[in-house]
Amino acid sequence: MKNQAAVFFRIFLYGILIAPLVLFVLYAFSERWFFPALLPTSWTTNIVTRMLNDSRTTSGLFISIGIAMLVSFLSLVIGFPAARTLGSRVFRGRQIAWLIFFLPTVVPPLAVGMGLNILFLRLGWTGTLFGVILAHLVPTLPYTIFTLSGVFSRYDENYEHQALVLGSSRLRIFFTVTLRLVFPGLVVAALFAFLISWSQYLLTLLIGGGKILTLPMLLFSAVSGGNPTSIAALSLLFVTPPVIIIAASARFLVQHGKTIREQY
């Protein structure tokens, strides 16, 4: 009896896990699907092919990938030294530094975006890739710093001391010892910074001003257009990188899921 309930629950749980993907595939490849048919009565790949050949979608895809990769890279480069300091050293004012990084995770992107909108308008940065990338850093940078500082709080500096004693240069120590030891954490921080930027709608809207058309922007306009087939096709495209990334970092997530979810 108890076993049966467990099996049922598990089937239900795994059902929910793949349900969105199944739903998107059904709608995206349906040609005729009238109520109350459970499955489309005729199938087509036209919608998906047309979408993939549409220049708006392809440029949206490349802009999204480009922005997310740059944002992720910048977050790592700027966040790395800060995270190491915050994670492995005790110093006066540590609480204040922590607070500075914590605040942007609490204040909603809505308020940040509205404030930045007027500032960037004056600087002429609205509607530019540069402006959008800067705006995306506000949520991704604190996130990267907190993830990496968690990694550094478990990091053993003695390996570096040892290399130093053996005569390595500081640059060589950084690349052969430090980077290698924190590499898994680094990859996951980068992937999640990518995801946060990838799924960002509000900041792109408020700073991009309708000129920087990332996938979430296209997805929103598809939703207001109301055609389920094109909504589903676009959703499928949009959700592919996150699905791959989560599947790939599954092992790490089991250990560190909690810190990651709070930010994402």
Binding site: L17, G115, R122, V138, F238, L253, G257
Partner: protein, 293 residues
């Protein structure tokens, strides 16, 4: 010799990140505040005015007419979503923690999986599934419960926010479940066995041992959920209706209004959201600290 590694003051290494964050974030708050006083909104106004605040809190204009009902609606959606998620998470976590073995890893993995679906996409999936001609309605029709799409209850884009709540509950239950599971797996067992030996019933053990143990973590997590639901834009924009609207939707609508005077009002509304979220965050942090002691 080891000193060479420790090459500088911590602040030099923190400087780039602090500079970027405080410039962008600090400026956004500063410029937001200035705008809420009617300055720099693109209008000719040059002196500080509290018109926008007055219009939002007690005005007869569009902002004043909708603000309080929006606030009420936001509180309703956020509170209900949070409570339902917390109860669901507690139930599932307790149920899962009773089962041992290799399924543990799989469960944790499964609970993390919905990270693969950003809120935007999750809301769209719900829209396709729960709408009146959606997949669930088709199931209902196949089983003979309904005849036409109109017979199916309005579950998304409904006036009482059911669709929005449904979205947040399904998305946040896994998040809170992981938090509760982490506490349960780290400590619960011994006390539970002692209580069982002393003759406590299953419900007594649940009520006096398990729940008090997980409550601090669950509370802190729930407050994070509340803050997120209260301030997020995408889900209510996709699954909500024209009236009543949640505060973030209202704020953005006023902010992007072609009438430049309403920009300040949008800003004021977004500060109300920020203020409430900040208060909730402070309570959450306090709770977490007490829980750790």
């Amino acid at each position: 010799m080891f000193k060479r590694l420790d090459f500088s003051s911590p602040w030099i290494k923190l400087a780039p990140a602090i500079l970027v964050i405080s410039l962008l974030f600090g400026a956004s708050i500063l410029f937001g505040l200035t705008q809420s006083f009617g300055l720099m909104t693109g209008t000719e106004q040059e002196i500080i005015s509290f018109d926008a605040y007055r219009n939002v809190f007690s005005g007869q204009g569009p902002a004043g007419r909708e603000f309080w009902s929006s606030l009420g609606f936001s509180l309703w959606v956020a509170t209900t979503s949070t409570l339902l998620s917390a109860m669901g998470a507690l139930t599932i976590a307790i149920w899962l923690s009773n089962r041992k073995g290799k399924s543990q890893q799989t469960d944790t993995l499964a609970l993390n999986w919905n990270l693969a679906f950003p809120h935007l996409v999750w809301a769209i999936a719900l829209l396709l599934f729960f709408s009146q001609s959606g997949l669930l309605a088709r199931f209902a029709a196949t089983l003979g419960f309904i005849q036409t799409p109109a017979d199916f209850p309005i579950l998304v884009k409904d006036r009482s926010g059911i669709g929005i709540i449904l979205d947040y509950v399904t998305k946040e239950i896994p998040f809170l479940t992981l938090i509760v599971l982490a506490v349960l797996r780290s400590q619960a067992e011994n006390l539970d066995i002692i209580a069982e030996n002393l003759g406590a019933s299953r419900w007594q053990r649940l009520w006096y041992i398990t729940i008090p143990q997980v409550l601090p973590a669950l509370m802190a997590g729930s407050l994070i959920v509340f803050g997120f639901v209260f301030s997020a834009y995408e889900v209510p924009a996709i699954l909500g209706v024209r009236y009543p609207r949640m505060l973030p939707v209202l704020a953005l609508d006023f902010f992007l209004n072609p009438d430049l005077n309403s920009r300040a009002e949008g800003m004021v509304i977004s500060f109300v959201i920020t203020l409430i979220v900040m208060i909730v965050a402070i309570i959450s942090l306090r709770g977490e600290k007490e829980g750790n002691q």
